[in-house]
Amino acid sequence: MASKFGLAGGIPERRVRPIWDAVDSRQYKAALKLCTALLAKHPTSPYVLALKGLILERMGKPDEALSVCLNAKEQLYSDNIFHFDDLTLSTLQIVFQRLERLDLATSCYEYACTKYPNNLELMMGLFNCYVREYSYVKQQQTAIKMYKTVGEERFLLWAVCSIQLQVHFSIGGEKLLPLAEALLRKHITSHSLHEPEALALYISILEQQSKYDAALEVLSGDLGSLMGREEDKLRMQPLRALEPDHFNICFTRKNARCLLEHDVNLPKSRTSEHPSSLPVDSALALKTSLSDELVESRLASALSFVQKLQVNDTSDCVRGPHLASIEIERQRRRSGNPTDRKFIEALINYFHRFGHLSCAASDVEIYLHMLSSDETTELLDTISRSFDASSLSVKGLGLAITTFKFLTPSSLFNNPELQHIAKGMVEAFYKNLPLSRDLDPQESMHGEELLCMASSILVQLFWRTRNLGYLIEAILVLEFGLTVRKYVWQYKVMLVHLYSYLGALPLAHRWYVTLEVKNILLESASHHILPQMLNSPLLQQTADLVKDYLKFMDDHLKESADLTCLAYRHRTYSKASYQILFPRIVVSIFSPEGLGLIFAICAILLSLKQKAESLDEVESILENVNHGARLVELSNEDNVKRFTFNEDLQARPWWTPTTSVNFLLETLQVQKCLLLFHFPEPFDEGSTPACFRAKVVLIIYVCHGASWLPPVYGQGRALNLLNKALGAASVRLSHSWLFTTSSVSQYIRLRTRIKLIQEASCVCEHKSTEKDDPKIKDAERKALLPRLVYLSMHGCASSLRETELNGSGLDTDATEMKPLLVKYARSIGYSIDDALSVILGMSSGKKSVKDFTPDIVSWMSFAVFINAWNLWSNESVVPRADESSPSSWQIVDSLVKICVEEQLIDANRILTSPGNNIPVLVQMITEPISWHLVVIQSCVRSMAPQGKKKKKGGPSERPNVPRLQAIQRSVQCMIDTLRSVQSWLSDQMRPEEQALDILLSYLQGGNEDGPGQISCILEENSARHNPELGERIAQSLETWSSAGVVRRIVGAEKELLAELKKICDSKLKLLASVSASLSSALH
């Protein structure tokens, strides 16, 4: 700040200081007054002008600020300028940046640098401008120039960083890497390196070129001493994951010291999505240069070292040496004797020491897959014998939980057994509650995870039996947990999904809100609720969620470039060793084109849905987004290819539906398929949902080929999933729990088939690209919607007007409509002609709507847009054989009617049919029907002035009568359809008590094997006065009531239905008024 108060632009410091003080204390009016006074004395001072611009911008007057700053810029460029300093330029830069005119700031600095070519301060300013504009080449050039001017190491590093950014963001940019390396080498020869970050950067350049040996040499040479901590240096070495003798290196003693620094650090795949043992395995597979004897001797030496650490361990490194011995034994088993007991002994030893830890099961998950079923049983026996289940202790509870975790990959169990296990978990939770009595209410309880596990099993029982009681119990268990401790986020996340699935979305939303998802978590955790909300009638709450995210993204994009500048300034160019280069990630950590774009589209669609009843509002929304044209551009294929999503999907329960798979609905196919292999089902708690789903698809594929897959997959998508499964998880897959229980012959059969598929999928690899991702297709389609809505309303309005005037319906926009519709049809997987015949077939009843169910809403919208296009297109869009063939209006009418009716057939209470059709119904009403109403309103409005004329004139002046009649019929059809929805909704909203009884009856089957037992346990436990629980827990349990929870579910369902009814109401109101004005026009 010191320079700020120097002699800036010829203005003495004492004059400027009060202005800055006023700005800093947000006294903008006072600042402006002072500045204006100063400007009177120095009317052409660029600095004072820039200051004024800054103040005006802060006061919220961007236009004035821009004009003052442009004036300042002009003064700078004039020849009689006296002072030209960085202070003036940086002040201008601040204002231009806030006005989102980075280009102006850059051009000021460019000009200044030409005028004063060797001024370092100005060059740094220019460099920062290029950083903010992401102009990597120019950054590099400027940095090199600075380096040549003053020879400082940091400027060389700035240049190298800029090269790395070019490499990352341009095709073929790798060619620049040797240049970067040469630059650094030359500098090292003459000056050496002086910062750890510089060394890290040099190593990463070598590494990017796969020059691992060179990197190792550098690290072990003199430069290696730049690393302040020995561990940092050593840690940089094992990243040579793909090098042939990698394994050799990893287990040398020297590295073992580093590996065990904080427990053991085994090498990991750097981009591994699926935590597994793969990197080590693949390294072993590549280990061609080592003989068996050598491997064995090195393993033995590693083992003795690790064992020594286990004995002498006085530090805090607890699990590491023990996990290391399991890994070493595993390697031995792989290369030697598979029946060797040392592997299982190492595991047993591990569980003896650490089995009580919450992470014990997940720590060794990858190893468990290698056990035979006898060994699994042995392990389980040993653990369960190692604690006394009847006494209360934290350690005993931990061991019990680990035992339960072993049981949960539960393909081994039948339904009653599973239910018994879940019951055991709930009982264990309650029994151990006294252990938590003295904990702080904010601390996590002992045994918390038991309820998640129990709930998960109950969902599984529901999946197997379709008995709703289990699903309700799954909810009750978690609600019970939250009654005791209201902060457990794991319970809340599961409840969000369970309530969503059950149709009690308002409750899901309420729990989600208590999670306080904000900032970066919006990026990774919104997926828990957003997909459901977007298809719900809770438009306002959804809009709020989307708005929060967009604000976060907006703020981040504004700040990220400045943060990159900060990284340059503080010389933190790289993120240590193999971690990613910092500035690169600041730029690309989010893909504004991916999730950001999807959110932006959602925001627009939501406001369109909310305001669809007012044409003016729809118009103004569309106007604000450039009539949707920009979105169409953004969603073009090249952009879409770069889409990435940062959602942390691993956090989702295994059964939650995604855009591609609704697992709970696919039960029949999956179960049929699994029966073939005598697997009760493929539940595997440890796997990620993605991996798990891939596995299911794989099994279906293996058994039956692609034709047997659910239609939603399609060939391409199945292969895509297969590739993912095989590419990332094949080893794991073949060792998974799923197959350990199978007989050897089945196993071999499956292995052979997997191999065949592997080969087949290699052939097809080029066909399966990320573009097949349904989420991307969905985004592409949604991005077209605003533009299509705009063209539809604009086109048909002008066509009606123009038909009146000159009989021609041609409009320039009509030519734009077709390619968009072609694209739209393609996103559903059809050519436009085929798509046309599909909607014709569906509307005439020749094609079954059911066959097109997954995309039915898109089909309806497609029909609506086809009708709009047909209205003003010169050629007939819809092929009509004769006059009696349906018009495009009739096609829409009948399609809407058929599709909606199809949804209303099921008269069951929606509460008793989880995964119900409310979301589809909501989409139909808020999307295609809304768009159609926009078209209708637009037609009616364009005829309104003529309508008045018509009253005065005779019927001969009404050339549009047939069209008006078609519209009138369409309006009537929409009214009828919406009324049928209304009455269905009213039927659904039966009295609360009745609904309550229905749901509670699921828990009162009286059947020993059925649901209801766990809810009984909860009721009994909460009613019992157990003094050991302590006052706080006892008090919270007093409030527990299963019926209360069920009552809330019923209330939430009602709330949801009422919201949908409200939407129908307002549409019906609109239709009534349209119908009235049409009648008056016609009669």
């Binding site: 302040g228 901590r229 840690r235 620094e261 904080h262 427990d263 053991v264 650090n265 085994l266 591994s272 935590p275 805090d316 607890v318 699990r319 996990l323 290391a324 830890l357 919450s358 992470c359 997940s362 720590d363 998950e365 990858i366 904990l439 702080d440 904010q442 996590s444 918390e448 995870e449 902060y487 986020w489 794991q490 999670l515 306080e516 900032n519 970066i520 978590l521 990026e523 990774s524 955790a525 976060f552 703020d555 981040h556 700040e559 990220s560 943060l563 900060l566 990284a567 503080h570 933190t572 993120k575 240590a576 971690q579 990613i580 910092f582 990630i585 600041v586 950590i589 940062n646 942390d648």
Partner: protein, 174 residues
Amino acid sequence: MTTIRRFCCDDLLRFSSVNLDHLTETFNMSFYMTYMARWPDYFHAAVSPGDRVMGYIMGKVEGQGESWHGHVTAVSVATEFRRQKLAKKLMNLLEEISDKMDKAYFVDLFVRASNMPAIRMYEKLGYVVYRRVLRYYSGEEDGLDMRKALSQDVEKKSIIPLKRPITPDELEYD
């Protein structure tokens, strides 16, 4: 097999299991980014054998003269990985860096006066309550400024408790 390494941007996308915890604050992006850019040695993540983020510590080094010190801004461990002294390891790492690399005089941190489990843990790690900051948290709850002296502070002057509580505007640093 726990790996403790520098925190990187990608970790922000994977730490929801740590940050969904109600006591862990999720700051805005520029906050994390600034820490990563300015004090990368003070921002570490612990990663599990299954490659999950187990917890992290973020901090900085600041001050002048004898008040040159390391500061713990946040330390948090996911539920699954608690009760195995991971927070202690992370704290020790930050202390080591403050002590050996930056030659700081002490490490300090702020904690809610009501957060007894955390206070007890810090005490076990050798921190003492240096002073109370009135209404430090959102103008409501008091904060405790806890400190631990490092080897530079031979006479342990930095941790002699202040007798009177202070208000947030008396704090030397943000």
